[in-house]
Amino acid sequence: MKKLKITSLILLILITSLSTISQSHVDNTPTNASPKLDYNNSNYPIFDSEKIDELVPIGNEMLDFKLYDFYGGSNPTEFNLSRYDDKILIFDLMASWCGPCRDAMPEMVRLYELFHHTNEVEFISIGIDLTESDADLDNFHEAYDMVWDFSRDYVGAMGDSTFWSNYGSGYIPTYYITDKNNTITRSEIGWYGIESYVNEIKSLISIIDEKSPTFVSMTSDYDHFSINNPSLLIEVDATDNFGVKSIIGTSEYNGIKIEQEMPYNYQTKKFEAKFKYDINELYEANGDVEFTFQITDWYGNTFTHEGEKMDVKFIPDNDFPEIVFLSAKEVLNQNNLAINVVLSVRDTFIKNTTITEINDLGVNSTYFPTSIKGGALYKYEFNLNYSLNTNLACYSFFINLEDIAGNKINQNFDIELIDPSQSLNCQNSIYSSNDISNIETENANESETSLNTISNSAPINFYYVLPSLIVFTSITTRKKLSIKN
């Protein structure tokens, strides 16, 4: 009874917590309570399908504006265009709910980092939607670490739609760039990548970068190479007085070169790439991986950093190979009978496989079967040949498996040929024919000779049995309860 109470209590807590979790997507952000704003102001523009989308044309002089710093508290600082005298200005119109504005923001941050330190370039973002809350804008600002000027069109909210009339395009995000004389050099709806903006600013800025970039450091997630993780995640930090544009990394290990571009990670602010190695080459090698990085800055200056080494080691997984499935059927093979064997082995990486059979003439023969690998399972299929005149009761073969960790198994299988004329039986039989669940039905091409597979191997066809076992267990458990009742 006490257990029942506890169960009920847990269920109740579960229900309550689920309800709470599902409510977590409600935004409990207060709407703006600033006394200056009037969202219902009839002068503020509403969506107009007929409006022809217009940007301020390139070559026009930037018109003055009046804005307030977003983080000015109850008495925000008013500013106008003169704040950016003799500066190249990049400004964008955005809103916190605007997906494309969000998409662009990491590259905007990078653009700022590339050029703001020159003291020639300034940035300003303007929240243009007066119906969204200050809290939403604040969250957006914080999420993207926007350290440049940030404002919203408070003046528009007070009934003066000049700013929107002058710069609004009918879409957001909208971007403008002006030169140091306040002439618009770029006006664009939507963000089409950082590169064109970098090129634009480069053409306006007075400084020309002739210095090559430099390598700073390389880090990696390396612990050891394993079968499940035969790769290295490499992060490179490099510096340049105007920022690094791209890095191409080359990894050389065991004579194999891998070259790939290392994209910029906007979160870590480093260049990174995963170098993945071929496991067939990897398992025999230990030693250094050597890296070369070709670093290019935004002005086309390049620097090649060589000789970065990492001592690596391959540590194989330590599981032994396990035979998980075996089937055998008799087939006609070039006027002889043969036993067609299908075998599945679980191991992360089998290095060597040999089959040794003792045929009806007493001859030992050894060969190396091919396999198909799927995940950690290897499937082998091969024929054991014997003559029609055999008088054998048993047919034996050995399978020898070795994985790259050096784990070996050598397993013997005795296949009992059931023939009423034979009085002998397999001496080493462990399982009766009933133990083998996967003898396949013979078809028209196959001999009518019946066949049992006898094995001293461990569990066969385990995966087929498991779901049934679970269902069976649950049924029997339930039945037991019924009986008790």
Binding site: M1, L4, K5, T7, S8, L11, L12, L14, I15, T16, L18, S19, I21, S22, Q23, H25, V26, D27, N28, T29, P30, T31, Y44, P45, I46, F47, D48, S49, E50, L93, A95, W97, C98, G99, P100, C101, R102, D103, I128, D129, T131, G168, G170, Y171, I172, P173, I189, G190, R478, L481, S482, K484, N485
Partner: protein
Amino acid sequence: MRDILCFLIIISLFVNPTSGVSSNITNVEYNPKNIEQGNNVTIIISFENISEIKNVRSFYCRIQPDYLCHFPILQLEPLENQYITTFQIKENSSQIAGFNFEIIFNNNTSIKYPNEHSDNFGLTIAEPAEGIYYYILSNENISSQNLTSSLYSTSTNTTELSQSELYFISIPLLMIITIKNKEYR
């Protein structure tokens, strides 16, 4: 004890995780169903009642190519138990447009639709930016298969169970099984 469990079952039936946050939307639709550039499209959001709703704002965006949002936003007008707006489609036959909306309640909380928990009301949903979903405004020339891999379109079958709905169903079932098992003992 059995009575207590039965009581809990009944309670759990009423604690549908989706109903706790529901803005009591009963339907979202737009007309006409197939849109073309220049068409006037009407978005209709139906509620059980709108007394707790302060405002509904809708955001109309071009999803692809060139993900952009139209501005100013669409303001919806209340009409009985519905919020409605009509606007003219600006996208041409090779472009895909979508809309989403935000319901602002009288207590200044808000909820955006569609979201990862919400019904799709038989409409196709896209997520062109992480966590920002849109109802796609259908264009016969562009089926949902044309949405790029950065987007996804959900089944238009509104009977498809969400994760929370599965919990909603499974919890009472779990409790019934528990009771029954106890009875056997």
